[in-house]
């Protein structure tokens, strides 16, 4: 069953994330792909995440397809103009990619090529419209395509943005522009997330809750202080502290599994997107603890 079919069937869907390597050595990436195979519904391949130059997302997607894993192509607007974006989308489709996640992309000032010229010729809402056009056999200027795409296109949303309303207005624009699924920024407060879902359920889109595994109380504090749109509640920080250094990671995995279980059992959203960030190895274990394997 494809990612799109899984979401349509009402199954509780799981996606994970793999970052292509900085370099040409793909052994570790293949190891992670193999590890996730058969355990998740699709895997996101990040697009020069945090503006750090790496192998492109499309190569990761193609390698995933060769290993029998369904990829989600992340596409940011930071590095390519409208010609480059459309051209890469056509190429991705021809290579077998069917899911695309349209994002704005972190600013170059966050990355390792700070003198790069940021492009942002389009942004996420406009890119979604472009995908919709390509799906209908036209480029963004209305020129006919010889063979159209049939992408399942998604976007991201930050349920804990502060202030929230401008973010929600943008969410609605993304829905209007054709987004069919959303993967959220990491959430930790399930009760607050329920409020967001009550709102999001008014729109005809599927929502996957973003989850980032907490490795320690220190990491939780770091997220609170330095990562926009992420709020780790005090109780969770206390829980990690109480576990002590030795057991902190184990507790973090438990928290993640517990959240997945609750999101699924209470039917809060349509699935989860696990961002393991360097702990891809742990994803199967989390899913086991959540009762999904």
């Amino acid at each position: 069953m494809s990612f799109r079919e899984a979401l349509d069937s009402g199954k509780f869907v799981v996606t994970a994330e793999v970052g292509p390597p900085k370099g040409t050595d793909i052994d570790e990436m293949i190891h992670h792909i193999e590890l996730l195979k058969g355990k998740v519904d699709a895997v996101n391949f990040t697009d020069n995440q945090s503006a750090v130059m790496r192998m492109n997302s499309l190569a990761g997607c193609k390698i995933a397809l060769e290993h029998g894993v369904e990829p989600i192509l992340q596409m940011t607007c930071r590095d390519r103009n409208r010609i480059g974006l459309q051209s890469d989308l056509l190429g991705a489709y021809a290579l077998g990619v069917r899911n695309v996640l349209c994002m704005t992309g972190d600013h170059v000032s966050a990355g390792d090529h700070k003198g790069a010229k940021p492009v942002y010729d389009l942004e996420s809402v406009q890119l979604l419209k472009v995908v919709d056009a390509l799906n209908n056999g036209k480029d963004m200027e209305g020129n006919d395509l010889k063979g159209s795409t049939d992408f399942f296109q998604g976007a991201v949303v930050t349920p804990e943005a502060n202030p929230l309303e401008p973010q929600l207005i943008k969410f609605e624009k993304k829905v209007k522009a054709g987004a069919r699924f959303f993967q959220t920024q990491a959430i930790y407060d399930i009760e607050k997330f329920k409020d967001f879902m009550k709102y999001a359920r008014r729109f005809p889109v599927k929502v996957l809750a973003g989850l980032v595994v907490l490795k320690s109380a220190g990491m939780a504090k770091f997220l609170n202080n330095f990562v926009p749109g992420i709020v780790v509640p005090e109780e969770l920080i206390e829980e990690l502290k109480a576990a002590g250094k030795e057991k902190a990671l184990d507790t973090g995995l438990n928290i993640c599994a517990r959240h997945i279980r609750q999101l699924k059992d209470e039917g809060i959203c349509d699935g989860v997107h696990i961002m393991a960030i360097g702990m891809e190895d742990k994803v199967p274990e989390i899913l086991e603890r959540a009762g999904l394997l």
């Binding site: 972190d106 940021p118 996420s124 406009q126 943005a161 207005i169 943008k170």
Partner: protein, 222 residues
């Protein structure tokens, strides 16, 4: 106005090391407000050059350095000093410098400033950028606040995920343009308009370089 900043003096000296005498041209408009092309600035640079053993044949602050014909007329009075100098230094923006390049085809012309941006002066000698001359203004759609310029990504349809407590992901010193737009639209009771308006990608052909404009009326043929 056009915001300019003095080049580092050592860098300037390196650029002009092959010349001995100089004529300095400022500008009474933007460059004077920036303190880079005023009478005062000319006096300072004259002294600095002299202390490096250079000769200054003269200096002048034209009314508007980017106005070619007007500047040409004003500089007539300095014909001799200009003829006798090795090199002309222009203490305004890149446009002013190229006025001099046009007027003096046989003389080397060097800029003393870096030209930075089109800016608003917020306080004495404090400037910020609010318009980047995109060629097709959308302020009518964004509550009068320009996201093309004041959002580092130039986003047209709302804040990115990097916004934190109203600040921009690029720096906590930059207020998020889209939170400002949202707040202003809210105050004006225009949130519905903001919600409804999905802006298309900009047509950058309007900003294709080099730009030129003539608003002269074509003379009717008799």
């Amino acid at each position: 106005m056009i915001i300019t900043k003095k080049k580092d003096f050592q860098e300037l000296m390196e650029n002009i090391k092959n010349y001995r005498s100089f004529f300095l041209i400022g500008c009474s408009e933007c460059a004077s407000l920036c303190g880079t092309g005023s009478e005062e600035a000319i006096k300072e640079l004259t002294e600095a050059l002299q202390s490096e053993g250079k000769e200054v044949t003269g200096g002048f602050v034209p009314k508007t350095g980017c106005q070619v014909l007007g500047t040409k007329k004003e500089l007539k009075a300095f014909k001799d000093q200009l003829a006798e100098t090795d090199c002309i230094l222009v203490m305004s923006c890149g446009a002013g410098t190229q006025t001099a390049v046009e007027l003096f085809p046989d003389k080397p012309v060097y800029p003393t400033n870096d030209s930075l941006f089109l800016g608003n002066m917020t306080r004495f000698q404090m400037f910020d950028e609010r318009c980047s001359l995109c060629g097709q203004c959308i302020l009518d759609r964004t509550g009068g606040i320009c996201p093309v310029t004041t959002c580092p990504k130039g986003l047209l349809n709302g804040p990115c995920g990097g916004m934190q407590d109203g600040h921009c992901e690029v720096s906590p010193d930059i207020p998020c343009a889209w939170v400002r737009i949202y707040e202003r639209m809210k105050k004006l009771d225009k949130l519905e308009e903001l919600r409804e308006s999905v802006l298309d990608a900009k047509d950058w052909s309007h900003a294709q370089k080099p730009r030129a404009l003539s608003t002269r009326e074509k003379k009717e043929k008799k």
